[in-house]
């Protein structure tokens, strides 16, 4: 019964080895042994469990579907079943990695599926390298508004609205493969183009002369006189000006000729200014205005062209074309990897260069900004200001990035925090000075009129007094790092409760590189609403066999954060309803007078299991010990780098990106945890700068 599997597996191994894949016969033997030890007992010919046979598996080319199905069951912890002997974590990982390798490890399309490529294949093997195929990438919503601003001297023309939308899923959102431009969006683009060109050509007629209004573009004004036919050079100058603003280069002669023909066509039934405006609008709708092109020049392995590299780098870090990079590209100075590296460093070191996508990565990675979207009953006894919590964490991230030392470790374990941080300009010195961003007024009792002070935002961090010297050092033994910022804790909470399951899922996916399957269709995941029990106690429902298959990957990672309530406040005990006292809390007529609460002791322990880092696995006593362990893990660091890769590349990693990832990790470690060094490495990597495959369209070279 087993012979066929053994033969088949050996055949697969031979083909993989001949293809140069990073596979060894040792891996193959291990995978075969795994199948025999953990699968074939039930999935055999005589009485196959679930009607699934695995004893007759042929090689991957013939039986890929079944191999992948077996892999997914093992990867998601659904098989072997609970009553069977559990495989060693390392063996299961090796099996998953081996099958993935046979499949060629195609990149999953969605951002949250990136971890489906086993970590071991990217960091545990000698690095493979190979540039990706050429691609086009629709502008992000922010980049579109940057584009619009570039067309009108940094302002957004009246009437311009956002045409693009991103996936509502949590996490990294802007992947190149996800978005095109559909009909309704194209219609918005048309209207925006009309609004922008109307602003660009705003004018009035004084003494018979066309005079520009506001920030009209000088080259366009000569086309706005209905009585005077513009000259061809005037039309061409206008086209070139619009091309420079929209696409970052002048038009080619062919492009210019086509636009002038459009002008002539419009002139047959319309007036001169209207025809000119139509011609100028066309430039704003071009594919090379709406899409980042990353195709390179020619066929085979090639580097991005200088204009492509300039835009790619500009939009990696910001939302607008960087003028210096655009100018450098025009001079051909972004033609080599060294020149591009110099450009990246210059951009990163320039304090005046706007780099909003640095913070944006951390917002999408940690997702603390979701705090503002979690609806909670407004408390009367204390302030709950999620938007300020988010602003405080933004400020903390920027503070850590400014120091640029041990960035991930600092973000996970710092004992500093900005607290209700705002600024106001000192009228005398004209300098910005710290001030509380939110001032919570005292609450007035409706009957007595007595004013009661309400603890403001600083109380959520554990402070009685706000201090101007920021960041403040957090009260010892309470909270450390971003995962214990009120913003993150609220973002990963529900309307009425904490949310250890999704907190644990976040840790599993974003720090440990694991993949948790989605909630099975038809399963109603609900924690009992028993207010007299702690949340940890109520969450025990997930220990049922059916649930625990998946929840064992999450719950114990999220439970240490029960050290905080769902408003993000530190607590040493949990408040629950005292059922017995509530039952007795009645008036003389027996009517209930309301719930009576009591404090019960809080358990903050958790555990790490099957992380892929033996040094990380084991129990943790509280969230502070937990984040310190996480911050010390090489695997956590590498998983973080995988997420940085996804954000800046706009795609999931593949096996061919292993070198870029390993190089980035090496640079990060070697630089003492510099995020800048990490970015320079990634943005000058083969994965970012080079392309392969057939040449792009002729017009795009």
């Amino acid at each position: 019964m087993f012979t066929r599997v053994g033969l088949a597996v050996m055949a697969v191994a031979a083909s993989a080895a001949s293809a140069g894949a990073a596979d060894t016969s040792a891996d193959t033997t291990l995978a075969t042994a795994f199948l025999k030890s953990h699968c074939l007992k039930c999935h055999h010919a005589e009485k196959p469990a679930g009607s699934v046979r695995l004893d007759d598996l042929a090689d991957f080319a013939k039986d890929g579907g079944r191999w992948l199905a077996a892999r997914d069951q093992v990867r998601d912890g659904l098989m072997p079943p609970k009553m069977e002997r559990r495989p060693a974590d390392g063996d299961a990982r090796a099996f998953v990695a081996w099958v993935t390798l046979q499949s060629g490890a195609p990149a999953a399309p969605l951002p949250n599926q990136g971890n489906l490529i086993p970590h071991e294949l990217l960091f545990g093997k000698p690095a493979a390298a190979g540039p990706p195929a050429g691609r086009v990438w629709r502008l992000s919503p922010e980049a579109y508004m940057g584009f619009a601003a570039d067309l009108y001297r940094g302002k957004i023309a009246a009437g311009v609205v956002q045409p693009f939308t991103l996936t509502p899923e949590r996490g990294i959102k802007d992947f190149a493969g996800l978005y095109a431009i559909d009909e309704p969006s194209a219609e918005v683009l048309l209207r925006n183009a009309e609004a922008i060109v109307t602003a660009q050509t705003a004018h009035e007629v004084k003494d018979g002369k066309v005079v520009g209004k506001n920030d009209a573009v000088r080259e366009f004004l000569g086309l706005m006189d209905p009585a005077v036919a513009p000259t061809t050079p005037q039309l061409e100058a206008a086209v070139h000006a619009q091309y420079r603003m929209a696409i970052g280069r002048p038009a080619t002669p062919d492009e210019s000729d086509r636009l002038l023909r459009l002008y002539d066509l419009c002139l047959k039934t319309g007036d001169r200014p209207g025809s000119a405006r139509t011609m100028l609008q066309a430039v704003l709708l071009r594919t090379d205005a709406m899409f980042r092109r990353e195709l390179g020049h020619g066929g085979g392995r090639r580097i991005l062209t200088p204009p492509e590299a300039a835009l790619a780098l500009s939009l990696a870090l910001g939302n607008r074309r960087d003028p210096w990079l655009t100018a450098a590209a025009a001079k051909g100075e972004l033609a080599t990897r060294e020149q591009i590296a110099a450009g990246v460093r210059r951009l990163l070191d320039d304090p005046k260069a706007d780099k909003p996508r640095l913070l944006k990565f951390f917002r999408e990675y940690f997702e603390y900004a979701q705090a503002a979207n979690v609806f909670k009953d407004k408390p009367t006894a204390f302030a709950h200001e999620p938007q300020q919590y988010v602003a405080d964490t933004d400020r903390l991230v920027l503070h850590v990035l400014a120091a640029d030392r041990d960035v991930l470790r600092e973000l996970l374990t710092t004992d500093k925090s900005f607290v209700n941080y705002g600024t106001a300009k000192n009228k005398q010195t004209r300098l910005d000075e710290p001030k509380p961003a939110v001032v919570t007024p005292p609450r007035r009792d409706g009957k007595t009129g007595v004013l009661t002070p309400i603890p403001s935002v600083e109380a959520a961090y554990g402070f009685k007094q706000w201090e101007p010297r920021q960041p403040m050092t957090l009260p010892p033994g309470t909270r450390l790092g971003v995962l214990m910022q009120p913003s993150w804790l609220v973002a990963w909470s529900t309307n009425f409760d904490t949310d250890p399951v999704r907190r644990g899922r976040w840790v599993r996916e974003r720090l440990l590189g694991g993949a948790v399957p989605d909630l099975p269709i038809g399963v109603v995941a609900q924690v009992p609403n028993d207010p007299h029990r702690t949340y940890r106690d109520r969450l025990a429902v997930t220990r049922a066999e059916l649930c625990w298959k998946c929840h064992r990957q999450m719950d114990d990672l999220g439970l240490p954060f029960e050290n905080f309530d769902h408003y993000g406040r530190f607590r040493a005990a949990e408040d629950v309803v005292d059922a017995a006292a509530t039952e007795k809390n009645i008036d003389k007529k027996g009517n209930p007078l309301g719930a009576v609460h009591k404090q019960v002791s809080l358990v903050t322990t958790g555990a790490v299991a099957a992380s892929g880092d033996a040094g990380l696995d084991g129990p943790v006593k509280d969230p502070r010990e937990f984040v310190k362990k996480l911050a010390a893990s090489a695997r956590v660091r590498q998983v973080f780098i995988r997420h940085v890769f996804r954000f800046y590349m706009g795609r999931n990693e593949t096996l061919a990106d292993a070198k870029a990832l390993q190089d980035a990790d090496r640079e990060y470690v070697g630089s003492g945890g510099s995020f800048k060094a990490l970015l320079v490495s990634l943005l000058t990597s083969e994965s970012f700068l080079y392309r392969t495959g057939p040449p792009g369209p002729k017009e795009m070279k």
Binding site: T165, S185, Q281, F291, I521, P697
Partner: protein, 458 residues
């Protein structure tokens, strides 16, 4: 948003698969029935109204019909009550003038779309709620059956985050979310602006020229691209081609468009939710009457936690009323009723407008169906064991909506039916029958989840 399948792919598939796609015998038999012998005489139209935050089943219960105070009805057989002689619940009493054209449907389950607050695409797709646009939703499927110049007009209101489009309720296919346009100004310009904004024929011609130029421009750019990258440009090209093609059709209907274009004035740019919805309903009515579309989706909030806000009614947070906030009223139920009343008045106003337009011996309303439901099923935190639906109109006589309250059997009964079966029924009525819709609920094994609900077909 996704580019999985463009129209070009679908056309190719249709070409290759025309033979394979032949109707099954059962569908073949039903199709002529559904289409009706004279159904093509006048266009038939459908409007889906989706309101956020759930639809309380009690709001659909007329006087004299019993419903358990707590829990769900436990009937094993369909229970029907004629609405004639009964009083509608105050939440929907604005529909009283159309009482003999209603079917108030209770007891259909939609557990496959279980989620908190909104089923997202699961509401109109009868599919899981949190897997994005995984299949074509019923409104889009109906637009295939009832084509128009604008095949599918989807209008809504903004979510407060500045998004002009809502991509979370409707889909044209797997990965192809249908954008719901949440700006009346934008919707008006799309539907009526080209010929009625006073810019004149010259501007219209210039736009036509621009669209033709852009189609050519994108065609040049896509040459040399392959696979997914080419597909992205294909979709952009199709957008310009479709917009260009539509210019001619709009020109042919210019008189009708001018005649029926709503006079929105400053309301078109109002940020007030109630005014935005009123404007969108006016635009929808005008588009149907002018004959530029036969399928409309009107969404009041919906998707994720985008409930919408109605501060003008002193209901600033719809999530809040789901958690008991009453905003000065005796209970949050008063808020739910007020909001229902507002939406039902809009629906009644739409029906009245359609009823006021002659079509043959009848009116436009005679050939129209309005489907009213919530993306959150039966409540703010829905069970979705029942998903209340209001049908108004009979779609050219193909549906039996003669003033009926229908309580379908509970979800464990062998006579139970699901939302998916209702959608199959609508497609049969529209003449493009499907035998199954959405994703089956694995928890339902004792009753069919495919096929029509015969009690609803005329």
């Amino acid at each position: 948003m996704s580019v999985e399948h463009t129209r070009r792919d679908l056309l190719k598939l249709a070409g290759y698969g025309a033979g394979a796609a032949a109707l099954t015998p059962m569908l073949s038999q039903l199709a002529p029935h559904a289409a009706g012998a004279d159904a093509k005489k006048f266009p038939r139209r459908v409007v889906f109204v989706v309101q956020s935050n759930g639809m309380t089943p009690g709001h659909l219960v007329p006087s004299g019909v019993a419903r358990p105070k707590n829990g769900r009805p436990g009937n094993d057989r369909l229970e029907e009550a004629a609405l004639k002689g009964r009083t509608l619940h105050k939440a929907i009493d604005a529909l009283a003038p159309f009482q003999d054209r209603l079917a108030l449907i209770q007891g259909l389950s939609g557990r496959i779309a279980v989620s908190d607050h909104s089923a997202n695409h699961g509401c109109l797709g009868a599919c899981p709620a949190n897997k994005g646009p995984m299949l074509q939703t019923i409104d889009s499927a109906m637009s295939d059956a009832l084509p128009g110049v604008f095949p599918h007009v989807a209008l809504g209101m903004p979510d407060g985050a500045g998004n002009v489009m809502n991509y979370r309720l409707s889909a044209a296919g797997p990965g192809k979310a249908v954008p719901i346009v949440c700006s009346p100004a934008l919707a008006f310009k799309s539907l009526f602006g080209s010929v009625s904004d006073g810019a004149g024929r010259a501007a219209f011609d210039q736009k036509t020229n621009l669209l033709a130029f852009m189609a050519d421009d994108v065609t040049r750019a896509r040459g040399g691209l392959a696979g997914e990258e080419r597909r992205k440009f294909d979709q952009y090209l199709e957008a310009f081609e479709a917009l260009h093609g539509r210019q001619k059709e709009l020109l042919a209907k210019a008189d009708d468009l001018k005649k029926h274009a709503p006079k929105l004035g400053e309301r078109a740019a109002s940020p007030v939710s109630s005014i935005i919805l009123e404007s969108q309903f006016e635009i929808a009515a005008a588009a149907l009457v002018a004959g530029v579309t036969n399928c409309v989706t009107l969404a009041s909030g919906g998707g994720g936690q985008s409930f919408g806000k109605f501060p003008a009614f002193n209901i600033p947070d719809l999530h809040g009323i789901g958690h008991g906030h009453a905003y000065g009223r005796p209970s949050s139920e008063e808020c739910f009723v007020e909001l229902r009343q507002f939406h039902v008045k809009l629906i009644a106003g739409l029906a009245k407008k359609l009823e006021g337009v002659k079509e043959g011996d009848g009116t436009v309303l005679d050939n129209t169906l309005i489907v009213y439901l919530s993306d959150s099923g039966d409540g703010h935190h829905p069970s979705r064991y029942e998903w209340p639906v209001v049908l108004l109109g009979n779609l050219g006589g193909t549906l039996k909506t003669t003033g009926r309250h229908l309580q379908f059997p509970h979800d464990q009964s062998k006579n139970h039916r699901t939302l998916a079966s209702l959608y199959c029924t609508l497609l049969h009525a529209a003449g493009k029958p499907r035998d199954s819709f959405g994703v089956n609920d694995p928890a339902i094994t004792q009753c069919p989840q495919s096929g029509v609900i015969p009690e609803l077909l005329a």
